[in-house]
Amino acid sequence: MTSLIGISRNNASLPRCLLVACALLVLWCGAAAGHKVNVLAYVEGDQVVVEGYFSAKAKAMNCQVEILDAQGTKLYEGRTDAQGMCRLPMSALGKVSGDLKIVLHAGMGHQADYVLRASELAASAPAPPKGVDKKPVQEGSANRPESRAPDTPTSPSEPATVSSAMQTAGPGQTHSPLAPPIDVAALTKALEGAIDRKIEPLVRMLGQQQKMLMEQKDRGPSLSDIIGGVGWIIGIVGIAAYFRGRKRTRM
């Protein structure tokens, strides 16, 4: 208090002191930006990675993470670590169909969500095409589809969706090279596996790009936002003064 009294007695230096104090305060805190909490999720190999942050520097540490499916049922609940990350194996989510909604609770009413598209999930961990067989796609299956072709139709668990043409032509295919290859299901499956593998780097790259874009967007308010906001306030003051002034002149 004594220093305060000292300052207030010396009126000339007080504004200067305050200005310096304010400037220091702004400089000290200026580096941090963005109060809004953000959450981002992507698939890395067989893991789902959830990342929560307030700004590029301030990670959302030890925050609750919930993963909901498209119907809103909770599939997983965890917490972010000191880096604001939460990693979980895809298997922890069980069988997923449709988009996943990831919700981050940062406490005190701070909450953010992110939708992880079903396509993103499928791109990194290809699900078995429905209607062919229940086995997951093997690593080598796409490289030698012709060797799998004869097996598929003879499999006892053959679903009814496979075309009848395939059933008749399938076994004879390897013996008569002139017959058109019409093992549609196996071919589709092989192609899907190959395409998935080919486009995986692209999908990942797009994910990174999206992440970068989002980070850019969430870097915090820009100078134009700040000046715009103050401009709005000046405008509102003007409108208020106009109406009050009119009332006053009438009186």
Binding site: I7, L14, V26, K36, A106, G109, Q111, V230, I233, A240
Partner: protein
């Protein structure tokens, strides 16, 4: 301090909106023509203060300066804080438009309450009394706002202990900083433009004697 969109339940949002509309209404009704520019300046201060971060804990806290608004504006702090929060929601995506009512009430009501209570002490000639009053208004507004935020969360379903602990812990440094800033601001305004504090007559009388020697020195320079 800003509650995000989709956190609070509908009854809490509705209650916040009704209380805020009432507060803004009272504030506008009591607003004098001469006071409008001052309300605008403090709305701007409130709007920008949220960009100044206090890096602590798991969450991110920033200056609010609602206590200063309440101290200087009284009920008119309600419209000022409402405008500031609206612009923060629209331009910075802090909080959200649906939570605007609850956020406005949570921040403006403690500010107005403490502002009106502490204001009378700002006319004191004792610097210590003024300092304590300003500190209580500045820091206490944050404390009460934190409790209101915790209460809003509790009525929505979060456990009180967790919510209150988090909110209070996160805001202790902000409380101290805001209290000190409010003291500085009040002393600054008192020296520069005492009529803003609403104690024109009293302070002028007291200050006239004290400042006469200062102003003469100033003329000499």
């Amino acid at each position: 301090m800003h509650i995000s969109e989709g956190v609070l339940s509908a009854p809490v949002l509705a209650a916040g909106a009704v209380l805020s509309i009432a507060g803004v209404g009272i504030g506008l009704k009591k607003l004098d023509y001469e006071k409008i520019p001052e309300v605008g300046v403090l709305a701007s201060v409130f709007f920008i203060a949220s960009l100044i971060h206090v890096p602590i804990g798991p969450s991110a806290a920033h200056l609010v300066l609602s206590g200063l608004c309440g101290l200087l504006l009284g009920w008119a702090a309600f419209p000022a804080i409402f405008v500031g929060l609206t612009l923060q929601a629209v331009l910075f995506q802090y909080g959200g438009l649906t939570a605007l009512g609850a956020n406005t009430f949570n921040m403006a009501f403690p500010a107005v309450l403490l502002g009106l209570l502490c204001r009378r002490f700002l006319g004191s000639s004792n610097a210590a009394v003024r300092g304590v009053a300003a500190f209580i208004a500045g820091g206490g507004a944050i404390l009460l706002s934190g409790l209101l935020v915790a209460a809003s969360l509790v009525f929505t379903g979060e456990s009180f202990v967790v919510a209150a602990k988090l909110t209070l812990l996160a805001h202790v440094p902000v409380m101290v900083i805001e209290g000190l800033l409010t003291i500085f601001a009040v002393e600054f305004i008192r020296g520069l433009k005492p009529e803003i504090l609403g104690f024109t007559a009293k302070i002028r009388d007291g200050a006239a004697l004290k400042n006469s020697s200062n102003s003469q020195q100033g003329d000499g320079n």
